[in-house]
């Protein structure tokens, strides 16, 4: 298991994010992708226009291998968990074709893979010990599972997880 960070030099439109995710999920070594970016609010949350709908054109539902995914952030970086590094060249090619303004790819450790004390307090020992290990570190501690994690089914009956992580 290795983790890589794909860092395009621009914030991505929903269309580009959709293409990137579709191409990445076609690779056999990709296990999960965490999308990190700027949150796009549904309504104006501050100031005289508070409560007015924002209708941001990039906050929309995209299609990833047939699964509708609601993008709630403007994607700025991707943390991708890979089984091994055999398809790094293909990832590089995908990036080259989509991010003509430049990008960085870094191999490292970007998410936690162990349960924390908070997890044990929040969910209980039994639940933490039983849970799917690939879900650890997938989302922000305060985000809700239903709205932030999507499971993309794979041909080989294995599943891909995808999550959103917003950052202000």
């Amino acid at each position: 298991m290795i983790e890589i960070e794909v860092f395009p030099h621009r914030y991505l439109k929903a269309k580009t994010t959709e293409r990137f995710l579709n191409e990445i999920y076609s690779l056999s070594t990709v296990d999960r992708v965490i999308i990190h970016g700027q949150p796009l609010p549904k309504t104006v949350y501050y100031g005289p226009a508070r409560g007015t709908p924002v209708n941001h054109s990039e906050r929309k539902i995209i299609d990833v291998h047939g699964v509708p995914v609601e993008l709630t952030v403007m994607a700025g970086r991707f943390w991708i968990t890979l089984k091994d590094d055999s398809e790094m060249d293909k990832i590089e090619e995908v990036c080259k074709s989509l991010f003509h303004y430049g990008y960085n790819i870094k191999v490292g450790k970007f998410t936690r893979d162990k349960s924390t004390v908070t997890d044990y307090i929040k969910y209980g020992e039994m639940l933490v010990n039983m849970m799917d290990r690939t879900l650890i570190g997938l989302t922000d501690p305060r985000s809700k599972y239903e709205s932030s994690v999507k499971i993309i089914p794979k041909d080989s009956k294995k599943e891909h997880a995808e999550s959103f992580s917003g950052h202000i």
Binding site: R10, K13, V54, E58
Partner: protein
């Protein structure tokens, strides 16, 4: 001998651009012509064509106590009429925006009277009598090379975005999407006013400047353009101020200030 203001130290192009902004005798290049009414719409504080609201009667009609300062200082036209005070706020991207908050503050103070300005890390607010503010916003802040539709944003609230990467169209990130890039015309259109209320019709603020032009007119020192460390004169002045404030603050003796 009469004092001649030097405005800003430094020998680089960036320093020169800062001096050009601050020097009231330099006329900045006029790049666009946005109609008055459109500016009023973006500011969102008055309907176009509506009379200015007032907070006090015209100064001439008021019975004010005698004050020699009042005789010395000529009021600006909006103050004479009693117009209310309104604001406009700009956010400037660190990707070579023509102006940035500190430069804006100094420029406003050098160039205009009756202005109250507030500087924050990513935004800069100007408060002024409404009629004068609209005039400045149009003739100086938006129509000239002081502004770029892509990397400067007119944002009253929720300004987040100045320190982020640009989006794919080269626009500064805006969570409220007050302006959009029209891919057909290549122009930037304001679809909301500065606080995020939708406009009836989009306001065209023109084409974004090319990256080469922005590099020429920017007032931001950047490692991929002209880094601050290249400007030896500026570094000298900054160090001098630092020394005077820190060492001088602790030990204000003759020796501390000797070599400054």
């Amino acid at each position: 001998m009469a004092y001649e203001p030097q405005y800003y130290p430094g020998k680089t192009k960036i320093a020169q651009n800062r001096r050009n902004h601050m020097n009231p005798n330099v006329e900045l290049e006029k790049l666009r012509e946005i109609p008055d009414d459109d500016i009023v719409k973006i500011m969102g504080q008055r309907q176009p064509g509506e009379d200015y609201k007032t907070v006090h009667p015209p100064l001439e009609e008021m019975d004010l106590p005698e004050d020699y300062v009042r005789d010395l200082v000529e009021p600006i036209s909006g103050a004479k009429e009693g117009h209310r005070i309104r604001y406009i706020q700009f956010a400037d991207s660190m990707y070579n925006a023509p102006a940035q908050p500190y430069d804006r503050a100094r420029t406003y103070m050098w160039r205009f009277r009756g202005v109250d300005t507030g500087t924050l890390s990513g935004r800069q607010v100007i408060e002024m009598r409404e009629s004068n503010l609209e005039e400045i916003a149009k003739n100086f802040c938006i129509d000239t090379a002081f502004y770029d539709p892509a990397v400067c944003g007119i944002r009253g609230a929720t300004v987040h975005g100045h320190s982020l990467r640009l989006d794919e169209n080269g626009l500064m990130f805006d969570a409220l999407q007050r302006y959009v890039y029209d891919e057909k015309t290549g122009h930037v259109l304001y679809v909301k006013d500065q606080v995020g209320k939708p406009l009836d019709e989009p306001v065209d603020v023109g084409e974004p400047l090319s990256p080469e032009k922005l590099v020429e007119i920017t007032t931001i020192y950047r490692k991929d353009n002209i880094p601050m460390r290249e400007d030896t004169e500026l570094i000298k002045v900054v160090k001098r101020i630092h020394r005077a404030r820190t060492l001088g603050g602790y030990m204000p003796t003759e020796d501390t200030f000797k070599d400054l």
